[in-house]
Symmetry: C2
Subunit: 429 residues, 2 copies
């Protein structure tokens, strides 16, 4: 007795698309042996003929027209891997309108239009799967959706950008400057030629929005994410951090407060005993603080064609299962609720601060007074190194409201002896 056939189409044959085809060709028998139906990749669309040729598939399966996949009535699952917002969004909407389940790895599109597309899918009794959009090959979206259905998430902490994590790891381990570590990352393929999205924190913010939608059930909005990139972090900061028992990571942090969601991406000092501190090189991890399960972490490769392809094909299998059993969206995504947002200034944090100062009597007193005036108390003061004529000072504050800290900081930087552009990095609390 033959098993039911589920026909799949793919739009986008770039690096990840080729990875999906490669893994499909290698493991399709394994996959079909594991499931009660049969997957078949019927068609791949890409505008670029040479990319299509590189796939090693039967010519009949290749097309330069996305419409040949999106409008083919035989295809029941569409994998979208062209990336970017348009035409990806329209392609997905068209596939849903045509009654197809959708699998995507597209993080910026999901961050901006995810909940509209999920609503559209729901209307049509279809599903949209996006396991690969956050954390690449790490099982994350499905566990967050299914395993935490009886729990309440307090906070999400993610190392979700491999490029910046690789850079910080190299700076820490091999005493490199940020520039050298970035060049190294580019040479090894962990950073793109234009690393802006990674280095400035946008990539991490996309992923944060997707996770926040999911775990808080609220409409997280990309524009409401406070984003700081890694450019302000120097080798000296990493070195001081290590000395006081921390390592620096670019964190995507989402939490639900009574007033709404607080969403931010910034470098942070992470205590060396925290599980996130052990996430090195280009690897990613998402740490979840929740009410019942307390602390969970999901760790693995956040990118790369093969890990991402494994996540995408697992989504295709789930889509096939929906077809086989006629499953509409039975467990979440729930309808997302509107929410307020808490600006970063209203949050509390501990701060690490490093600056250069003229080494003369009274400077330290005026500095201490500036902090005291704003109720900012200091947990740690290190002054041990000179840079030319100047003394280098590192301070760590106790927990303080961001606004108060910045008021104090303005007074401090007004003190003429203190040099401009201090390093300011929050501590993970």
């Amino acid at each position: 007795m033959g098993k039911e056939l589920v026909k799949v189409g793919l739009v986008g044959a770039g690096t990840i698309g080729k990875g999906v085809v490669d893994l499909y060709r290698r493991n399709i028998n394994l996959i079909n042996n594991r499931i009660d139906f049969e997957l078949s990749l019927e068609k791949v669309a890409d505008r670029d003929q040479s990319r299509l040729q590189a796939l090693g598939l039967d010519e009949k399966k290749l097309t330069t027209e996305a419409a040949d996949v999106l409008d083919d009535p035989q295809i029941e699952v569409v994998i979208e891997l062209i990336g970017g917002i348009e035409p990806a969004r329209s392609f997905i909407a068209r596939a849903l309108e045509n009654g197809k389940h959708v699998v995507t790895a597209n993080k910026d599109m999901m961050a901006h239009h995810g909940w509209d597309l999920i609503s559209l899918a729901r209307e049509k009794n279809l599903n949209i799967f996006y396991e690969a959009s956050v954390g690449g090959g790490i099982p994350l979206i499905r566990p967050l959706k299914h395993n935490l259905v009886a729990d309440r998430v307090r906070r999400v902490l993610g190392i979700v950008n491999g490029t910046t994590n690789y850079i910080f790891t190299r700076m820490d381990r091999d005493d490199l400057s940020l520039e050298d570590a970035l060049s190294e990352a580019q040479r090894l393929g962990f950073a793109e030629a234009d690393p802006t999205n990674d280095v400035e924190g946008l990539d991490a913010a996309y992923k944060l929005v997707i996770m926040a939608n999911l775990v808080f059930g609220k409409k997280a909005v990309f524009d409401q994410v406070h984003i700081e990139g890694i450019k302000g972090v120097t080798y000296e900061d990493i070195s001081y951090a290590r000395e006081i028992g921390y390592t620096i990571k670019l964190l995507a942090i989402g939490e639900e407060l009574p007033e709404g969601l607080a969403l931010r991406v910034h470098p942070a000092l992470v205590p060396l005993e925290h599980p996130l501190a052990s996430v090195r090189n280009e690897l990613n991890a998402v740490f979840i603080e929740c009410e019942a399960a307390k602390e969970l972490m999901f760790y693995g490769p956040g990118a790369g064609p093969m890990p991402t392809a494994a996540a995408i094909l697992s989504d295709v299998v789930e889509a096939g299962r929906c077809i086989r059993f006629n499953i509409a969206n039975g467990v979440v995504e729930r309808e997302l609720q509107d929410t307020g947002f808490v600006p970063v200034g209203a949050l509390e944090a501990r701060f690490y601060l490093r600056f250069l100062v003229e080494d003369r009597a009274g400077v330290f007193a005026s500095l201490a007074n500036a902090f005291a005036d704003e109720g900012v108390s200091l947990d740690m003061i290190i002054q041990k190194r000179r840079v030319g004529d100047l003394a280098e000072v590192v301070l760590v504050t106790h927990q303080v409201k961001e606004e108060a800290f910045h008021r104090a900081l303005n007074k401090v930087t007004d003190i003429s002896a203190i040099q401009p552009n201090p390093s300011i990095i929050r501590l993970l609390n």
Copy 2:
């Protein structure tokens, strides 16, 4: 329009059972808001009236007869939480025969009878869910089943026993002896009054069998697991390990080799940079080495009523989803295949060895000869401490077949100058 009601029964109101009822009462509205049907806990059975009374449920829902749950035609999902092999196994079989989906947290029963019960469930077009049986509150079984469907697992490495991990952590951090750390664990509720199952590695072996069944698709057999407990590990070993860049963990290791499955539980030196090294206290983690996704880790609380209850209720939701959408077992569990097993002696490992030796000329030479004769080469030798008249020696070998190592070791311990009962611990490679 009312949502479809899914009626749930619970057998066993011990610590975990009470946790499930508590979490249900706290979060049932939250859960029902998240899903397209409605869960209702209708009946709880326990032989012990006082346990039932402690639940704070309506009297009408309580019964001392398991049959009142297992045979109630209205109940569609049965949660089994009595633990142990019988009558748990018979209860689950009876629930399946009666057409009910089953949720269980019972690791020893699943390790011994899991695949029979899964086959029975399959025959009946039902499912058995056991997310809480390994790793307590860590999302693990469902991600392994669904997310790795397109991937091939090479090796599973688990810290899956919280008691022993707590003991090793305290020994390492606070320089305690194993006995003192165990007493402390008992005082804090991380170890039972009779800690045999934990300390001797049986608990970890149950969980290894369940994971091996799942990730390799083979019939793993409990009796084929090589099991060593933690009793042979002393404070000195942990201290030397730290000195050479390792920490000691009780690992459950499963791998698929051409000749069959190799399954073992034993303490191991884990490099400090390995993500498993950062798993401290009573926490658990499972590290998966696989072909496409390379390395994944799932981390969280391996026990405790609330984390375990969250996992159990997520299984109940999935069971409800199967009822709502008439889902038979669409993605794995596949039928498990028979397999051979590779005995531990045929494996290769690096060994850490610590022993006391009379400090006189020629002893070291005969020792070195014994190893050389069996082709065991040494990577590291430390001799720096005296214990009374004796010198303490620590050796670390290169990769060697276990059998050759033990032949060499027999010769070494034949050397009269060498004291009996050396510490022998494998390194994670």
